[in-house]
Symmetry: C3
Subunit: 173 residues, 3 copies
């Protein structure tokens, strides 16, 4: 067993970059049980297959908590019990919040406050989506901007932050 | 006040990655006044809002110079006066040059020559746009290629280069 | 002449990031002749121009082997002769395999086995395509997922892995 992660770790990565597996391994360096806070909702079969693949990787030492929208409350409820928490991921949460028409700024602030108050260890997974060409449609641009702002906010309060590419970490802080 | 940046610093980053703020902080490690060379043009309300948000961050110690197309001349005029210069950003400049139908290779060469001749400190901001899927339309592919070539040219002559993700730097050189 | 590369090096980068040139330079730190394993096929004039530009950079010390689909056999034939091999690139190979309707999982496994069996030095170039917004169309998403999985597999067995941005390397391992 390696050294457990610090209070708050931010794992940023591309699609299919191995960021979830990297984050799971960080959490599993802590003593079980572990809390998996899932933000995914199976809107279609593609997403359902992805969720199932992630779930099949996790054994009985994991407890799954569903938090597609009210992530702040899930963090408040589980982030200070001395058990390691994995939040996977902020990108789906952000998408859910925007599709639900909620106040984005207020929800982001609630989330950052909850993360700041957690005793941890908490490991947060998110997507980097800003390294491509400017998207054609306005909603995609709005999402990209919101995701970028959110990633900066979480990275700023994290004790450790990494960027994952091809399953391997680059140390941001 | 931290150590001032070297002659030429290249700050590369994604959309909403905090690259402008990071670059501003580098410049503000020099003695004021500072020159802000703006390449943005407000073609629509979305862009106007972005420009205003950036401008509101800068106080009276900044002098703003508009250079949407003739960036080389702006660098020649301001890059050797012993005052720190921030160029934000090459991506909008490149877009302006292409939309204006100018000779891209010649304009890029003029820019690189001007940057090479500046005494600095000069900090140049640009977007990394090549880490996504191949764009559908030919113009986006052409832009992506031109941006990639330009980024390589500037990085090659820079004394320091960083890639920004979530507001934090990865050291390229 | 610098230190030659290890048995297997993975060079990951964006479009127009300088990854091919970086990889060529690694190979040229070995004694010639060098084998260039090309996966590109000129389906259109844009691709033909790109292939020609790459070929014009290589002199007579390079031997070119075309392997648009059967990359595993090319590695088996050339990867253990004591001569350095450059594979450029996995992204075009993956695209060829998908367009040809082959069994992707089986082909990826054959490739990984061949890379694992090579004595090297072998340098493999691939694109990072997962740092942008989710693509609109399902085929692009499928490609992005397959590329991400392949990149993780190659990085896992590589002795060294780098991410290239603006022509400069970030060390992944």
């Amino acid at each position: 067993m390696n050294v457990p992660p610090p209070r708050l770790t931010f794992v940023l990565g591309g699609a299919r970059s191995g960021k979830s597996r990297y984050a799971e391994n960080l959490v599993m360096d802590c003593a079980p049980p572990w809390v998996y806070v899932a933000t995914a909702e199976a809107h279609d079969s593609e997403m359902a297959a992805r969720i199932a693949a992630h779930r099949n990787r996790r054994d009985g030492r994991w407890r799954t908590v569903e938090a597609p929208l009210d992530l702040a409350s899930a963090i408040a409820a589980h982030g200070s019990k001395g058990q390691a928490v994995l939040i996977d991921c902020l990108t789906l949460w952000l998408s859910n919040v925007m599709l639900d028409g909620r106040d984005l700024i207020a929800e982001q602030q609630r989330l950052i406050t909850a993360l700041g108050n957690a005793d941890g260890p908490v490991v947060v997974v998110s997507n980097e989506v800003g390294f491509g060409i400017v998207p054609d449609n306005a909603l995609a641009r709005e999402f990209r901007d919101a995701q970028g702002r959110l990633n900066m906010q979480v990275a700023a309060i994290a004790d450790r932050a990494v960027l994952i590419a091809a399953g391997l970490p680059l140390i941001l802080k």
